[in-house]
């Protein structure tokens, strides 16, 4: 493990042309620099996502320019835009179709909490009611730089994931689910309205 190698020794070796690494470090380095997002836009934020991938902000500099139209080839789902109740089952299904390891960035106010549209009858108050989210970007819509910042935050998260041990990454843990139940269309609302195994809001009491 890399954390067992003395940092001083490592840099000393590197100066002499010997590059020491661990499987974990190599594995994470490879993964974090080739995150392929799902080409999947919902609303306004999707346009900023396209702008991020376009020439000015150039997501390709982070190894993430290969937007895949098929969930089977994607590592990252950028939930960019308002998730309506009519769309939520499809998003969960797409997430289930993505191969492990998979990550979710919740881009923009709407995807985090329903945002300005949260009062609406057809708007889901946050995609984290059904699938786990790794990084949240507030903003309406967030600037392309903010998406790049979230991308780097996700890279840091991947970098810190462990391959073995108690706190190993969830996709390596057979106990952890990689697919989540798809909500059904009900007479008045989605059924169930949230997945209690994932969505655990803190109790905030206001007078």
């Amino acid at each position: 493990m890399s954390d067992q190698i003395d940092e001083g020794l490592r840099s000393e070796l590197q100066k002499r042309g010997v590059w020491v690494t661990s499987t974990q470090e190599l594995y994470n380095w490879g993964r974090k620099n080739s995150i392929w997002p799902l080409q999947f836009g919902l609303a306004c934020c999707a346009i900023e996502m396209i702008a991020t991938a376009a020439s000015r902000y150039d997501l390709a500099r982070f190894g993430g320019e290969v937007f895949r139209p098929s969930p089977r080839q994607a590592d990252l789902m950028i939930v960019a835009g308002t998730v309506t109740k009519k769309m939520a089952p499809q998003i969960v299904r797409l997430y289930n179709q993505m191969p492990d390891p998979k990550y979710v960035i919740s881009m923009g106010a709407c995807a985090i909490s329903g945002g300005p549209f949260k009062q609406g009858y057809n708007v889901l108050k946050g995609i984290d009611r059904y699938i786990p989210v790794d990084v949240y970007i507030p903003g309406c819509p967030p600037r392309p730089e903010a998406l790049l910042h979230a991308f780097m935050e996700l890279q840091r998260k991947i970098d810190g994931q462990k391959l073995t041990g108690q706190d190993k990454a969830s996709h390596l843990d057979r106990e952890q689910p990689s697919e989540f139940p798809v909500p059904a269309f009900g007479a008045h609302d989605l059924e169930p309205p949230s997945n209690p195994n994932i969505f655990r809001p803190p109790a905030i009491e206001r007078a």
């Binding site: 020439s55 000015r56 902000y57 150039d58 500099r61 919740s106 106010a109 985090i112 909490s113 329903g114 945002g115 300005p116 549209f117 949260k118 009062q119 946050g126 984290d128 989210v133 790794d134 990084v135 949240y136 970007i137 507030p138 903003g139 309406c140 967030p142 600037r143 730089e145 903010a146 790049l148 910042h149 979230a150 780097m152 935050e153 998260k157 809001p201 803190p202 206001r206 007078a207």
Partner: protein
């Protein structure tokens, strides 16, 4: 001749490719995070509370709750204090006991800034707010929202100067004795 149209298009692509080495106009990539664009004066992202001198006592907010009422997505929560404290000008005023903004809901419309009669709430420019957790990290409390007037001058120099001038004028007008009421016409 068939094919000339495609060739013409390819010439345009080649011109753009080669041009990108010489023309700034054709190569517009910003190398974020190393290189950053300067944000325009008017740029807005999320609201913050302005204070003078002291982050607790110097808050300009008097908890009048107008912004809470006018906020279209209702992302502001204010609890008014029971007692009054002297504000930055020494006048006893109510103050917000709790002032929370849920930036996971806020849509940066700046209507709170527009309706605030006390120049107490302004728009910030910080956008690097990605978090791995939503509930606590994206609910900004009063102490996270409070930022100094100097900071405000730093991000919106022109607007802040205007606000300061207006506040000074208002303070000066208050110190003078009230103008005599106009004599009603008989």
């Amino acid at each position: 001749m068939i094919g000339t149209g495609v060739l013409k298009g390819m010439a345009v692509t080649a011109r753009n490719f080669l041009g990108s080495y010489f023309e700034k106009d054709r190569l517009i990539t910003v190398q974020y995070p190393e290189e950053r664009e300067t944000l325009p004066e008017n740029y807005r992202n999320f609201p913050f509370l302005v204070y003078d001198n002291d982050p607790e006592a110097g808050l300009r907010c008097v908890a009048c709750k107008i912004c809470e009422k006018e906020c279209p997505p209702q992302c502001i929560y204010i609890v008014k204090s029971d007692d009054k404290k002297p504000d930055y000008m020494g006048k006893p005023q109510f103050y917000p006991k709790i002032f929370d903004i849920d930036i996971s809901v806020c849509m940066s419309c700046q209507i709170c800034v527009e309706v605030c009669p006390f120049e107490a709430i302004k728009m910030d420019k910080v956008f690097e707010l990605s978090r791995r957790e939503r509930f606590d990290a994206l609910l900004l409390r009063k102490d996270e929202l409070a930022k100094s007037n100097t900071y405000y001058h730093g991000i919106h120099p022109l607007e802040a100067a205007e606000v300061d001038a207006n506040l000074a004028a208002a303070a000066a007008a208050k110190k003078k004795p009230a103008p005599a009421p106009a004599v009603p016409k008989t």
